[in-house]
């Protein structure tokens, strides 16, 4: 035994030494874990901090203009009197057209791709197109609209052109969200409807569409928020920078109660107005830009927030 112990003692020592080394290594690696956790959290905080800084900055810079006059005044040469009446009315009307065109088209396309399309090269082609369109820079849509809508179709730089352009722009968003929410519906629902003799369209319209309603709505809201903030394509198709009148009202008090003159009216929109003020060297106009930016960001954050909340709710409530 003694001889053994004697011969093993250096070995034991080295084991002990190794153990210490292993412990040190574990400690080091644990430390690495903590360090990376901290860095990761920091990286995420960058996003959050930017969002907060951005908003605070706009509010601080623009707070002087937070009053009703700013909403009810036309743009003016004097920054203090300038307002965004024509801009927000323009934005609202453009959004109306965008909604009317993009939503039915997008939902219909999504339904076709998910429920009807046969599995062949033709469907693949459409699918690749939709994915690709989502990656096309928005300014390219502006170029398309400038050549096609403004000149070839002769629609001019009008509210109609602007609405159609943004409609095309958000079409992929609507299609993708429609498809995703349709895909979440279990086949059993469809089979049950077919079993009682429903036609394909009855299945799609009465069941698939009804149950995917919430998910589609989420996508539509996100798309509309995107359209509201888009600037580049509207500049490209020739947004007016100074409009001191409103388009004729779409609703009139005399029959036929609706008129469509406003469609061909010149347009401006909130982001356009902001861009215009931002491009001026005079700092007084930057205050206006900040106030407009704060308003845009509040509206888009509210819209996106609603959409995210809605999706969260739907995900929680669905129990197939």
């Amino acid at each position: 035994m003694t001889t053994d112990a004697l011969s093993e003692s250096p070995k034991q020592a080295s084991v002990l030494k190794n153990l210490d080394a292993v412990r040190a290594m574990i400690k080091r690696h644990k430390l690495n874990d903590y360090i990376f956790s901290a860095i990761g959290l920091l990286a995420l905080m960058l996003a959050l901090l930017t969002l907060i800084t951005l908003f605070t900055d706009l509010v601080i810079d623009g707070h002087e203009r937070f009053n009703l006059d700013f909403l009810s005044n036309f743009p003016s040469r004097r920054a203090v009197n300038a307002g965004i009446l024509s801009a927000w009315v323009g934005s609202a009307l453009i959004m109306l057209i965008t909604f009317i065109t993009a939503v039915p088209m997008g939902v219909a396309a999504g339904l076709y791709l998910e429920e009807y399309a046969p599995k062949n090269w033709f469907s693949d082609l459409i699918e690749i197109n939709v994915t690709n369109l989502a990656g096309v820079p928005s300014i390219i849509y502006g170029l398309l609209a400038l050549s096609l809508f403004v000149y070839i179709f002769g629609l001019g730089s009008s509210i109609l052109t602007a609405g159609l352009t943004l409609g095309l722009l958000i079409l992929p968003i609507v299609i993708v969200s429609t498809r995703e929410s349709i895909r979440a519906i279990p086949a059993a629902i469809r089979e049950a409807a077919y079993a009682v003799g429903a036609t394909k369209w009855q299945v799609v319209y009465d069941h698939v569409l009804k149950y995917s309603y919430g998910g589609i709505l989420t996508g539509v809201i996100i798309g509309m928020a995107r359209a509201l903030g888009e600037t580049a394509p509207l500049v490209t198709i020739g947004a007016a920078t100074y409009i001191a009148y409103l388009p004729t009202s779409p609703i009139s008090s005399t029959p036929p109660f609706l008129n469509f003159e406003w469609l061909s009216s010149d347009f401006t929109a909130m982001p356009i107005q902001m861009f215009n003020w931002l491009s001026r060297p005079d700092h007084a106009f930057h205050i206006n830009a900040a106030a407009t930016g704060a308003l845009i960001i509040v509206v888009t954050l509210l819209m996106n927030g609603t959409a995210i909340y809605l999706r969260y709710k739907i995900r929680k409530n669905i129990k197939w």
Binding site: H29, M105, P137, I308
Partner: protein, 315 residues
């Protein structure tokens, strides 16, 4: 589908029963609806075709005046000046420089955020952070432009006193912040698709979270992560308002981010802001610039999708 025809053949008397007639009507209606839905889906193809068509058509008239060689070799871009030069390179250099600055920020931050979200964050943290990232994606670019010009640039000017009021550095950095959530979410999706068993195997060998994340999960998800980078590049290249507001509008062949320069997108914005006669060379030049932009983003998008599709591991 063809109940009407199959039921017609065996019937002996040729008068159509009311029920059959109803079936026929129903079938026709079904077909019409399917056709309408298909037309809607085809609108996507039509849009792509018209984009390509319009860009090619308008650029073609541009290239009747300007030789393709000049377009790619001339180092000046002054289509609206008396002494007109049509070299796209200054615009491309501006585009690449701002994008490079953006990616220098977005790739490390986005990757770290993705690794953290996928491997370190608790379920609760993820539930809070992901919506915030999505909100950041939803912020309009013009607002980021304001942020770059009137918030970040003054701060940067305190660090680099020589920095001009319009510069590519500030625009690029803000673009980078814009792209972070995008890269983070695509990369995170790729990492979460890596099966749990691989992580468990790694933990069983005594690896820490960090080791597992960096040596096991990241290599397994590398194709998705690279695809996220490439899609991020295509985002940066096509970004418009931030550069139009904050980077300056003077085309300059320079890769120095502390200078001001125009990009392809900001050139298009600058030209279309003014009154431009339809069919003039200036008007055609924005389509030629657009064609180059489209080619660049299309390349990146296609490469990104191919990488994701080809190297996607099927676990």
């Amino acid at each position: 589908m063809n109940t009407a025809t199959t039921m017609l053949t065996p019937s002996i008397d040729l008068t159509i029963s009311p029920r059959l007639a109803k079936n026929v009507r129903r079938n026709i209606k079904e077909r019409i609806i399917e056709f309408i839905l298909m037309l809607a889906a085809l609108s996507a193809v039509a849009t792509t075709l018209s984009i390509v068509g319009v860009l090619l058509y308008e650029s073609l008239s541009f290239f009747k005046t300007v030789s393709v060689v000049d377009f790619f070799t001339d180092t000046q871009w002054t289509p609206l000046f008396e002494d007109a030069h049509y070299g796209i390179m200054p615009l491309v250099s501006g585009t690449l420089t701002t994008s490079a600055v953006a990616l220098a920020l977005a790739i490390p931050v986005g990757t770290i955020a993705a690794i953290y979200l996928s491997e370190f964050a608790s379920h609760k943290t993820r539930e809070i952070v992901k919506p915030i990232l999505e909100l950041l994606v939803g912020v309009p670019t013009i607002v980021f432009g304001y942020f770059a010009l009137l918030f970040l640039t003054p701060i940067l000017q305190k660090i680099f006193p020589d920095l001009p009021g319009f510069n590519m550095l500030s625009a690029g950095l803000v673009m980078g912040i814009m792209i972070v959530p995008y890269i983070a979410s695509v990369a995170e999706d790729a990492m979460r698709a890596v099966p749990m068993s691989m992580r468990e195997g790694s933990y069983a060998m005594g690896a820490t979270r960090f080791q597992t994340a960096v040596r096991v999960v990241t290599p397994a998800a590398i194709s998705g992560i690279v695809a996220a980078y490439i899609l991020g590049i295509s985002r940066a290249v096509g970004e418009t308002m931030v550069v139009a507001v904050a980077a300056g509008l003077e085309p300059k062949l320079s890769f120095n981010p502390t200078e001001s320069a125009a990009t392809i997108t900001s050139y298009i914005v600058q030209v279309t802001q003014g009154d431009l006669p339809h069919g003039s060379i200036g008007y055609q030049s924005i389509f030629a610039a657009g064609l180059v932009l489209m080619a660049m983003t299309l390349c990146f998008n296609v490469i990104g999708h191919l990488i994701r599709k080809k190297y996607r591991e099927h676990y």
